[in-house]
């Protein structure tokens, strides 16, 4: 089942929580709404579920318009941020709840519930009550309860935000595996960009009720369409300067006291340019080959701060007065490690510069 959202606007008083959003989730796709707190993710998800009524726009499931249909008739499964597991029912009855509403017989319900509990690795816990379960187990019950009714569409609103960091990472890959094996169309909400990148087929980045960019995780990360997306996904160094020369698709930009190379569609000489370079796009010292050194512009950087994390090292480097960059370098051997105050050579491939 696919989901089409066409020009949906939802207002709370004067506030437009969702502004004219149009997007499509394809059948079997894992689609994520990503954005900072208060950007309207939940509001959009609840419009799709039918818990609120948009002022404008249409919502379709498989070309069938659903926005006037009551929630309980939309055939959705939903997983809530705070689990919302019924405290007065045991695990079995929680999972069986939706099946009973669909008038399945007891004989049909039992195997379905068992299978669902097996899927979320809770077999044998049927008789436990919610107050006897851990947070992760409750979340699994909530997921099993939503999946057992074999919904056409699965909606999840920050389902992992109440779990601790380690469990969150575990559960997210489990959710992804379940979704893959059931091929269920899923709309997932999170404000955690790493989570979004790791489990989604496609991502829509939202800000102030508007979808800023839609695309596969690598597109969002590598070719952000604007400064907001570039800044929100991952860490980025932003630069601003004036283009002082251009030649064969390569330009030189004067940034503060230094010159930096950028590639491709830059504007005319003399104009302002702003661009971004990811920390991992920089190479430092011994990583730079002779060829790179001759071809790219290399820069000296004074080490302001070193953070050694084992598999990677984070540097804060000062290129000139008032201009510092964040750089990460992987698998640094002890003899290559630099201390605060020392100078280090760095360079980057102008192809990896993001003009924005």
């Amino acid at each position: 089942m696919s989901i089409q959202i066409v020009n949906v606007t939802k207002k709370f008083g004067n506030l437009e929580a969702v502004k004219d959003v149009t997007l499509e989730v394809k059948t079997g796709e894992f689609f994520t709404l990503l954005g900072p707190s208060g950007c309207g993710k939940t509001t959009l998800l609840r419009s799709i579920a039918g818990f609120n009524q948009p002022e404008k726009g249409e919502i379709y499931f498989n070309k069938k318009r659903v926005d006037k249909i009551a929630t309980h008739k939309r055939g959705i499964g939903m997983v809530f941020q705070n689990y919302a597991v019924f405290p007065h029912l045991n695990v079995f009855n929680n999972v069986a709840y939706g099946l009973k509403a669909r008038n399945f017989s007891a004989d049909e319900i039992r195997p379905k519930v068992s299978r669902a509990l097996q899927m979320v690795r809770l077999a044998g816990m049927e008789d436990r009550f919610p107050n006897q379960l851990s947070g992760g187990q409750l979340q699994r019950v909530a997921i099993a309860r939503a999946l057992v009714i074999e919904p056409q569409v699965l909606l999840m609103d920050e389902p992992l935000s109440n779990l601790d960091a380690k469990l969150r990472v575990e559960m997210r890959s489990e959710i992804r595996e379940l979704q893959q094996s059931m091929k269920i169309t899923t709309l997932y909400v999170t404000h955690d960009q790493e989570e979004a990148l790791s489990i989604s087929d496609r991502i829509a980045v939202m800000n102030h009720g508007v979808v800023e960019q839609m695309g596969e995780p690598w597109e969002i990360y590598n070719t952000p369409v604007n400064r907001f997306v570039a800044g929100f996904i991952g860490t980025t160094n932003f630069f601003e300067g004036t283009l002082i020369s251009e030649q064969g698709g390569q330009g030189i930009v004067q940034v503060s006291e230094i010159k930096m190379k950028v590639s491709a569609h830059s504007p005319c000489v003399g104009e302002k340019v702003s661009f971004a370079i990811r920390p991992e796009a920089f190479k430092v010292a011994q990583e730079i080959t002779e060829a790179e050194r001759s071809c790219f512009l290399s820069l000296p950087g004074r080490v302001n701060k070193v953070e050694y994390l084992g598999f990677m090292t984070k540097y804060d480097l000062e290129l000139c007065r008032g201009l510092s960059v964040k750089v990460v370098s992987y698998d640094v051997l002890p003899q290559h490690l630099r201390k605060t105050g020392e100078t280090i050579e760095l360079c980057y491939d102008p192809q990896r510069v993001l003009i924005c």
Partner: protein, 548 residues
């Protein structure tokens, strides 16, 4: 559709309160400005009120007794609450249970029993006289204050207990770490934090004391208060002055309303207590001190329950009018069941019907207050607070006057009794339902709806089920308090619709102690057994929600 259902329900609840409470009370108000015969405008009632000492003194008596009782409740309740929350006294949950009993048991039974013990010709009075010791009279202020403090102190005690239990330990530690001594920290940090809560409890004591009817009726004698005076003016055989009764009622409503406003809008805004993260430290006393502290607390608890033991014991003695003989006898019960079986039935019947209706209206009201918030629900929130400020006697007078003539005549029927009980108890049910709903996550409803269950069915299958425990215990508490309701019953009953409380009261005033004791005992048992059942459903915070 579903929103229309709730709008209609809201309107219906408004109409009920408007028609059966607000209009009758407004009628009192206008009545206080009218002459008795022609209904012309007059200020005569108010002029008389300020002219005759017997009237304005009753106002003074009400206020003074209320204030002294509240102060007394604080003197007892605050240290006790502090000890139970911060020291390792023995059997804390037993202490809490025993302290709630006096609030549930009828206060006028306590008044009656203290008169038996300490009144003219009381057991203790006589005993002391044989030794040549003469205690002062219990009638008037001393008796009322004794009864009110010993029966109502729990409002302050329970509030203090929850207050001190909720002060985050780290706040007190912060005080100490800044160089303040422990005692200084108590006076400068802990007490100010808890004070608004304590004062709320004191205001509840104050309001209960001045709205109380049975206690002053039995024990006040030369110092009647507003309620008693209003009742007498309304029913006196010598010649009634309904206009004066209305005027006295208006004064009482003004006081109670001012207290409620103080509590709701002044104190609740100064409520600094937040959910404690670190539970406060419980001080480990030395065994000797622990025993002493526990002993003092239990001695007081037993003291507050003495009247009820006395009533129970008396009911099994042989009686001749006001005289009793220390011999076991079931005579009082035989008499009660054979001659007055009807009032017993009436009490149970009226309490059951009224409770059911109160639940039927109260639970949806609680739902509207929490889940259907709007300008109307805010108004509803205020409207259902009004019964708290209208003493039972006053509501009784208002209802009987309003439904005495016109298109609906209810005076003399059982319906008018049910009406007054429902109006007075429904707010409790609504409040307790609302407090349960506040704790229920709304996404539980949404989860159910998302699983394909319609909103209506969801209310029944999820919301209602989860509320049931709290609603049942709230209903039991309402039932129990209706069983022991005297103030409005005495005004509204008719000869065929007398209740146990009325019989018990008449036993007291006609010196038929056997009858009074037997009905007291039946009432005590009818109260304690359901309460024990209710504690099965109780969790601590639910109890608090219902009580307040």
């Amino acid at each position: 559709m579903k929103s229309r259902f709730w709008s209609l329900t809201t309107i219906l609840i408004f109409l009920i309160f408007f028609f059966f409470m607000i209009l009758p009370v407004l009628n009192l108000f206008t009545g206080s400005f009218q002459t008795q015969e022609k209904g012309a405008f007059t200020l005569q009632n108010y002029l008389s009120f300020f002219h005759y000492p017997s009237y304005w003194r009753s106002l003074w008596n009400s206020i003074l007794i209320g204030l002294i009782s509240a102060a007394g409740a604080m003197i007892v309740g605050v240290p006790m609450g502090y000890m139970v929350s911060r020291w390792n006294v023995m059997g804390k949950s037993l202490i809490v249970t025993l302290s709630t009993l006096p609030l549930m048991l009828p206060t006028f039974i306590a008044a009656f029993a203290w008169v038996i013990l300490l009144g003219r010709g009381g057991i203790i009075t006589k005993f002391l006289q044989t030794w040549g010791i003469h205690i002062g009279s219990i009638y008037g202020y001393p008796g009322m204050i004794l009864v009110f403090v010993s029966q109502l102190y729990s409002y302050v005690f329970l509030m203090t207990l929850s207050g001190f239990s909720a002060v985050d330990e780290s706040i007190e530690e912060a005080g100490c770490s800044l160089g303040s001594s422990q005692l200084r920290t108590f006076w400068t940090v802990s007490l100010p934090l808890v004070l608004p809560t304590i004062l709320s409890g004191a205001i509840l004591t104050f309001m209960s004391a001045i709205e109380n009817f049975g206690v002053p009726m039995i024990i006040a004698q030369q110092t009647p208060n507003l309620v008693v005076k209003a009742y007498i003016e309304f029913t006196s055989e010598v010649g009634t002055h309904p206009g004066m009764a209305y005027t006295l009622s208006i004064f009482l409503i003004l006081i109670t309303m001012a207290s409620l406003v103080a509590q709701r809008y002044y104190l609740s805004k100064r409520n600094f207590i937040q959910a404690a993260r670190g539970k406060p430290k419980v001080k480990q006393l030395t065994p000797g001190k622990r025993l002493l502290a526990s002993g003092i607390i239990y001695a007081f608890l037993i003291f507050t329950l003495i009247p009820f033991f006395v009533a129970l014991v008396l009911s099994f003695m042989e009686m001749r009018g006001p005289v009793f003989y220390p011999r076991f006898s079931l005579q009082s019960y035989v008499y009660a069941f054979s001659r007055s079986a009807r009032p017993i039935f009436n009490s149970y019947f009226l309490a059951t019907i009224s409770t059911l209706v109160a639940v039927l209206i109260g639970v949806p009201t609680g739902y509207i207050l929490t889940r259907r918030k709007s300008a109307y629900s805010n108004a509803l929130d205020i409207v259902i607070m009004l019964p708290f400020v209208i003493a039972g006697t006053i509501l009784g007078i208002a209802l009987i006057t309003f439904f005495n003539q016109g298109w609906i005549v209810l005076t003399g029927t059982w319906v008018i009794l049910v009406l007054s009980y429902v109006i007075r108890k429904m707010p409790f049910i609504a409040r307790s339902s609302a407090s349960i709903l506040y704790q229920l996550d709304p996404s539980l409803d949404e989860a159910s709806i998302s699983l394909g269950v319609s909103p209506m069915k969801t209310f029944y299958k999820v919301t209602f089920r989860l509320m049931m425990g709290g609603v049942v215990s709230g209903a039991i508490l309402s039932w129990v308090t209706i069983i022991s309701e005297l103030s409005s019953t005495l005004v509204l009953r008719s000869p065929s619709w007398s209740t146990m409380t009325v019989e018990m009261y008449q036993g007291v005033v006609s010196d038929d102690l056997g009858k009074a004791a037997a009905f007291s005992s039946i009432m005590i048992i009818s109260t304690v057994i359901p309460l024990l059942l209710a504690t099965k459903y109780f969790s601590k915070d639910k109890g608090g929600g219902i009580l307040l």
